[in-house]
């Protein structure tokens, strides 16, 4: 019981302080007229990448052998970056659509 108050206070302080250095960001990529924009982004491990599909076509963000985000028309989808490194992704339905994410530790 005695632990509740300090814990609550700590939580409030964390929220107020902007969640500190470990705060994960969300980086948005827009898909419009068959292209990812921006085509290259920088992220940190733990960040979320969110794709907003403005096309009337279903797209994917796919890294062969690793992950895939399905992006229905006029919807968004996201993926948390778990490992560092530079990855190229593409749309499995339209392989001419490509993008790159550079993930730093």
């Amino acid at each position: 019981m005695r632990m509740w108050k300090p814990l609550f206070a700590a939580a409030v302080l964390t929220l107020l302080s902007g969640a500190g250095a470990a705060a994960a960001a969300t980086i948005e990529i827009t898909i419009d007229k068959m292209a990812f924009a921006p085509v290259e982004i920088d992220a940190k491990v733990g960040d979320t990448v969110r794709w907003i599909n403005k096309d009337a076509f279903v797209h994917t963000a796919t890294v062969t052998g690793a992950w895939e985000v399905m992006l229905p028309q006029n919807k968004s989808g996201s993926m948390v970056m778990k490992t560092s490194g530079s990855v190229e992704y593409y749309c499995r339905f339209h392989p001419n659509m490509k993008g790159r994410i550079r993930v730093s530790p």
């Binding site: 007229k33 068959m34 292209a35 392989p95």
Partner: protein, 174 residues
């Protein structure tokens, strides 16, 4: 196997030759809209045939992708011609495309199993390549309405994507 691409190419060249001979002979916006829409319908019909006939998961999934995308593009095209108050106009190129597609469909209906899959996908590669060529060299440069031109440009990117997708599938089912 090579009959249909040649017939399609001939149809597209027909219009291309006319257009390069005299600038005034380039296709009008109502004709371009008709050609683009017809090209979409042809691929939708081919996809429906493949979904019905093929037993290969990859091929059926590809056909479903084609069906979905081409229906979406054609819906946009219809919305646009309605908005612009343009009536698509039938023309020799549309007719030749339809004729070539009917021949290909007939050919495909006589095949089954792996032979069907290979012919369908090979034709998808060839067909998208030809439509892309026509879009790039003739239809997009000839379009006078900016919105029509923009839709054709988006269409070109989609069809280029389909061509690559079809090439991947062709390599997979070899």
């Amino acid at each position: 196997m090579h009959l249909r691409p040649i017939a399609t190419l001939a149809a597209l060249l027909l219009l291309g030759a006319a257009s390069s001979a005299q600038a005034a002979d380039k296709p009008s916006d109502p004709q371009i809209a008709h050609i683009a829409y017809t090209a979409g319908v042809i691929d939708i019909d081919a996809a429906k045939q493949a979904i019905k006939k093929s037993k290969n998961k990859t091929v059926v999934a590809f056909a479903k992708d084609m069906l979905r995308d081409h229906e979406a593009v054609n819906k946009q095209a219809l919305d646009l011609v309605k908005k612009l108050n343009v009536t698509p106009e039938d023309n020799a190129t549309s007719q030749a495309l339809t004729k070539a597609a009917a021949d290909e469909s007939k050919k495909l209906s006589g095949l089954k199993g792996k032979a069907f899959d290979k012919e369908y996908i090979a034709n998808e590669v060839a067909y998208h390549k030809q439509v892309n060529g026509a879009l790039e060299t003739l239809l997009i440069p000839s379009a006078s309405n900016a919105e029509l031109k923009s839709l054709l440009e988006t269409g070109l990117k989609i069809f280029q994507g389909h061509q690559q997708h079809a090439e991947h599938v062709a390599a997979e089912i070899k």
